[in-house]
């Protein structure tokens, strides 16, 4: 099923937001001293990584599904399924 141009923009933004949040949560987890806070941060990191996978899947499907906005998407979001799983 094709997606809209608007959705593609939203997905691209979401990908960037959640990738940053995952990275930031991981970094913060290495910085905090309280183990309880660290545990929560690691939990958040895993959640955002899952979000990145969800979003990237839509983008990849769009780029393969021949939507009009898909031209060039492979260069912008070059996520293979394997890369996504190993994120």
């Amino acid at each position: 099923m094709s997606i809209t141009e608007r959705e593609l923009l939203l997905l691209g933004d979401a990908l960037a937001v959640h990738a940053t949040l995952a990275e930031k949560s991981g970094f913060y987890a290495s910085q905090v001293t309280d183990p309880q806070v660290r545990q929560v941060l690691l939990q958040l990191q895993r959640g955002h990584q899952r979000h990145v996978e969800m979003v990237a899947q839509h983008i990849n499907q769009a780029s393969m599904g021949g939507i009009s906005a898909g031209a060039g998407m492979q260069e912008v979001y070059p996520y293979s399924s394997q890369q996504i799983q190993s994120y």
Binding site: E7, L10, V17, H18, L21, Y28, V37, L44, M54
Partner: protein
């Protein structure tokens, strides 16, 4: 000091809380603007996850005294009640039974269904309100910065 500033655990938790609020808000907006069912569903799911994260971080901060909330004062509650009564009066022409409670009942922290219709009252959900329920509007446990809940710190 080696010249690099280090964030405290509290500062980190605050930043994470705000980031999660932002992510929840963006995901919700994205869901509203999505036409494709699968994309919409995933944005909604992400939004729920982030809202849950906000709750987790808020409770963690609250447990450590990093995020304190003030219970509503009796004065604010009374004023809100009067304004709500006035608004309802303007809409329905009558004051709903739920809004006729005494001022002495107001305040004192969270009261589930404080504005809800009282048992046995003649209030009819399908009548004056057109089905709109005010139940549970008094407060929400574990408020995460939304609504009119005030923060005294952070």
């Amino acid at each position: 000091m080696n010249g690099t500033a280090r964030l405290s655990d509290q500062a980190i938790a605050t930043d994470v809380l705000n980031s999660e609020k932002y992510a929840a808000s963006v995901a919700g907006q994205s869901a509203l603007e999505s036409a494709s069912p699968f994309v919409k569903r995933d944005f909604e799911s992400i939004g729920r996850d982030c809202a849950q994260n906000v709750d987790v971080v808020f409770r963690l901060m609250s447990s450590k005294g990093w995020y304190q909330v003030s219970p509503v004062s009796q004065q604010s509650a009374s004023q809100a009640q009067q304004e709500a009564s006035s608004t309802l009066n303007g809409i329905t022409g009558t004051v709903a039974p739920s809004m006729t409670m005494s001022v002495g009942q107001a305040g004192g922290g969270y009261q589930p269904g404080r504005f809800a219709p009282q048992a046995g009252a003649s209030y009819s959900p399908g009548g004056g309100f057109g089905g709109y329920s005010t139940a549970g509007r008094g407060s929400s446990p574990g408020a995460t910065g939304g609504g009119s809940r005030r923060r005294s710190t952070v």
